[in-house]
Amino acid sequence: MTTEVSEMITVVVDGFEVSVPKGTLVIRAAEKLGIQIPRFCDHPLLDPVGACRQCLVDIEINGRAFPKPQASCTIPVEPGMIVKTQLTSPVAEKAQRGVMELLLINHPLDCPVCDKGGECPLQNQAMSNGQGETRFEGVKRTFQKPINISSQVLLDRERCVLCARCTRFSAQIASDPFITLNERGALQQVGIYENQPFESYFSGNAVQICPVGALTGASYRFRARPFDLVSTPSACEHCASGCDMRTDVRRGKTLRRLAGDDATVNEEWNCDKGRWAFKYVTSVDRLTTPLVRNSAGELVAASWPEALAAAANGLKAAKAAVLVGGRATHEDAYGYSKFARVALGTNDIDFRSRLSSDEEREFLAARVVGSTTTYLDIDRADQVLLVGFEPEEESPIVFLRLNKQVRKRALKITAIATKLSIGVEKLKGEFVKVAPGQEAGAIASQSLSAKSIILVGERAGESAGVLSAVAALADASSAKIAWIPRRAGERGALEAGAIGNLLPGGRPVTDAAARVDIAAVWGTDALPTSIGKSTQEIYAAVNSGEIGALLVGGVDPLDGENSQAALAALEKAFVVSLEIASSAVTQRADVVLPVAAVTEKSGSFLNWEGRARSFDAAVADSLNRSDLRILSMIAEEMGTSVNLATVTAAIKEIASLGKWDGARVSLNKVSAPSQSAVSGDQFILTSWRRLLDLGTLQQGEENLAGTARKTVAVISPKRAEALGVVDGDKLKISTSLGSITLNALVEDIHDDAVWAPRNSRGSQLLVNLGVAHGAVVTVVKA
């Protein structure tokens, strides 16, 4: 991915000339002409290995022929090269047929019961480049089958053609070399280390690139035949990486999801969460009808007209605010944004259903909305600084891209963090160790250039002064900033103005010209002029009686600080909840309106780059409607007009807004607090969410949960010694709200800090302790 012009080399393949960049492998030069050379071990994103020998062709260079056929997947083109594939060389054709016959002698040929049957490169190429009948009459190699190499990946060794794609992927792309080939000869096999299962966040890719049915996903095994599936291009809703995906549905039910192919974003990879966490859509507590709370205080099923009327009346009766979670599509978020201003006449809207700050809101408006940093900038960066961001856990495809550049050209990565993570270790990053809350000081001392990038995670907003320091560093060095939230919808919601200080397109609510822009498109007379409340302020305003009604979509009230206040507010206010399944919000709501899950609707997410990742409904015949359609119906009922009946209408309207070229919101510098002194059993808590944890969208995925990293509490060697704690001892972390007890792990972490996963089994910090980062907690040996 560079714009540098590379030297072109012209070669002849089967009599046709083709010009390709220097370094191109023969097999890909042939592909460019549409000539398909059969292959197994070759993969364009993996280093060549030349193991399967299926792609043998005859090659001559400047009249000198190689004495024997060459593996076209290992040889780069050279000037004067003439290649004869199976199409024009009888020798190459026989060599390929011979290799195919050999590959099949030990293959069980159990295609009728194999998941891969119907989409199998071995099956397909045996038909295209093999012979109909085998001459092998001997005894096949057999193995016990299948072997679990993790809770989610199964291995049928006798099907394996030993192409080493899976092992090379794991070593070269994911840097998780937990599977290897062992034994030798025909008994060679893929295996795991004795006591170390294949616990990689990217293991599903190994299944996807397996050219035979040797690796299968436990959740999909024996579920379907490929030819019974209807495939729809889709986008991943799990994080802000923005993976291109394919969703395979049979009779209205999603059976699997695969990584799509987008060289600019996810290349051909995705993470296991994106691949294997989709059952939440069909979970048993999915809402099917509208619910309205009756006079007895019970939620009962209601008709749509009844429910819409109840929602409209309730929202009209009191001052109302909007809470939309970070998982709405760009179009739905736009619907909420417009609804708040047009139907409710307020800027009290916030998509940040998590720990957040006013500094962050200003930073987003001043530096992030409309920004254009992309994956390509990572490819070209001279240095990458990570602030409040663990790429492997919080945006795995960003991790893969960083890892690729680290491997390819030793890209320098610096992580300002409280604890050294597995991901940063794998990236060979420089770990700048800080106490929780003291990140800002370390940022100021970094030296970057105009070719550097600062990748800012959403957790950067959890320590005061960090985002101000990031902005100052970017100004001083001309480095680019990219803000990488965890959730797929946050960037879209920001661009849609689902936040108190911005209208759609990054227009400040306080800017009269910006309001005129939007009012014109929306056909309203006036828009609210003052900056709206944040999520926390909205909950507080409900509890103080200032706000009486809430419109809530896709929010988990337990995701924020002070969840007691959030739950109390939801109990107190008149709540209209747009949800797919029963939740802490629906249980407290007055009107519940079921909405379409991501597979049932079209739309788009804006990934961290701001790139639209559009998708169509994968399940064709769902009766569920998208949020914006329902918001339009509520608005009608309220006597106003949001007029977004379809996703297409929203897309058109967003496009018609145009760009904002006026002044941006300015960022008021916030200073970092001074370091709180801790001693004895006092520690400062720090945490992040792991990729695989108790997240709502991972519900029901037992196989996936099996590869989650173990829940531990991490303290430094010095503090461990003081506490008399060694690895595996129990540590009790407590606040006034409660406590958790976890296995201790002594690792490279700031001496003042204790780390625990934010939302993992046995460690739900916001619920259990009420804090997640920067707060002083008590840690004792339990």
């Binding site: 060549p48 290995v49 030349g50 193991a51 399967c52 020998r53 299926q54 043998l56 004495p67 024997k68 056929p69 290992t74 026989k94 060599a95 011979g98 290799v99 016959e101 050999l102 590959l103 002698i105 030990n106 001459r135 092998f136 001997g138 005894v139 190699r141 053609v161 030993l162 290897t180 080939l181 062992n182 034994e183 030798r184 000869g185 025909a186 008994l187 060679q188």
Partner: protein, 426 residues
């Protein structure tokens, strides 16, 4: 009549030949002293001029290989000595190391000096514990004598017993601690070998030949051998002969001459077939007794000089049985990396077992040959090629014997007749 030219093996008959004292008694370690005083490039030139070619099988000019190492690149260079001698029939390096280990140590010193390496690694086959111990002692004695440790270190690495680790890139992988499987080339070891540094990989005998060349000069070495195959080498005679063992002679000697010098085929029997260079080289028959045993002569006759392992089989031997045994070896030792060798040897063994048991058909012979054609030149490294050599060559010379197994419904030979204890009575 060519005569034996004992150089490496000159003093093997002395009781203490393996000791540093004995080695020095015969002028040992004077060549390394001489070489260390020379310019490294001059040493390379001298080895080039001598015409020494690799004794591990391929016969690549040793001096030229050394010359490939980039100079002034500010990288560490390594010398790796391949002592992973494991081919059936090949048995020259182990006796050499047992009887004269110091000649290898001295060779290492000279070679390291020439290629500007500070470290030499000797990768020795794991099964030969006695040889490893003796070599270890020699290295230790050389350190004690101050011959090593002054800028040149020698490390003995004991392999885990895999034939594939004799393939130079698989050897490097194994030496680095990985599974021994051949690497993709390029890059060649001379550019990125051990730990991705410029590396020379040489056979034990090649490095051991160097001290004498330094001591006596290129012309002395050139005077032995034939036009393109200079010098003397160890021929390892084994099998149905009166006096098996090592015969050091100029390249180009014939088997007839070696048999005459050694006492011939075992009493009362006649030569049926033989390998010129171990089990991976196509077999020869009595008609090849006068083939010059140098690189060109053997190649012209349709085989390879290989490791000069002359395995002699007399008329009591069933060629199908012998070939089956070799093929079983290749199946067992296939590393598994590439399809033709891994799957092909699996199949070859089954076909040959059936043929030997009289369960085959003539069509199986055609299948066997076609299968060999699909393996030969299609596999990742030369191991796959080697697995087919004895099959194709034996069918070429002894097709009738294969057919006899089919018509006879089994092996027409008495397997006991070919053994050492044949005729000894029950």
């Amino acid at each position: 009549m060519t005569k034996l030219t004992p150089i490496l093996s000159a003093h093997w008959d002395e009781k203490d030949s393996f000791t540093i004292e004995a080695y020095k008694r015969h002028g040992g370690y004077t060549a390394s002293a001489k070489a260390l005083a020379m310019d490294p490039d001059a040493v390379i030139q001298l080895v080039k001029d001598s015409g020494l070619r690799g004794r591990g099988g391929a016969g690549f000019p040793t001096g030229m290989k050394w010359g490939f190492i980039p100079q002034g690149d500010n990288k560490d260079h390594y010398l790796v000595v391949n002592a992973d001698e494991s081919e059936p029939g090949t048995c020259k390096d182990m006796p050499l190391l047992m009887a004269n280990p110091h000649v290898l140590v001295e060779g290492c010193i000279i070679a390291c000096h020439a290629i500007r390496a500070k470290h030499a690694f000797i990768y020795i086959r794991g099964e030969v514990t006695h040889v490893a111990r003796r070599l270890n002692q020699a290295i230790e004695d050389a350190y004690k004598a101050g011959l090593l440790g002054n800028g040149i270190d020698v490390v003995l690495h004991i392999g885990a017993g895999a034939y594939i680790c004799g393939e130079e890139t698989a050897l490097l992988d194994s030496l680095e601690g990985f599974r021994g499987q051949p690497r993709l080339r390029p890059p060649f070891p001379a550019i990125a070998g051990l730990y991705a540094r410029p590396t020379v990989v040489n056979n034990v005998e090649s490095i051991s030949a160097v001290p004498a060349i330094i001591a006596n000069g290129a012309e002395w070495y050139q005077a032995m051998g034939t036009e393109k195959s200079k010098g003397a080498t160890l021929y390892s005679l084994s099998g149905h002969v009166k006096n098996p063992g090592q015969f050091e002679a100029p390249l180009g000697i014939t088997l007839r001459e070696i048999l005459e010098l050694s006492g011939g085929v075992r009493e009362g029997h006649t030569l049926k077939f033989w390998t010129p260079g171990g089990s991976s080289t196509p077999i020869f028959t009595a008609e090849h007794l006068d083939v010059a045993l140098d690189y060109e002569g053997v190649a012209a006759a349709g085989s390879m000089l290989g490791t000069k392992a002359l395995q002699i089989f007399d008329e009591t031997t069933c060629v199908v049985r012998a070939v089956l045994r070799w093929t079983e070896f290749y199946k067992h030792e296939s590393c598994g990396k590439c399809t033709p060798c891994r799957e092909g040897t699996w199949w070859l063994v089954q076909l040959l077992r059936d043929l030997e048991a009289g369960k085959g058909t003539e069509a199986d012979l055609a299948k066997l040959l076609d299968l060999c054609d699909n393996i030969m030149g299609r596999s990742f490294c030369a191991l796959g090629d080697g697995a087919t050599s004895s099959i194709t060559s034996s069918i070429k010379y002894f097709r009738d014997e294969y057919i006899a197994h089919i018509t006879h419904g089994g092996c027409p030979f008495d397997p006991v007749a070919s053994t050492l204890f044949a005729g000894a009575g029950a």
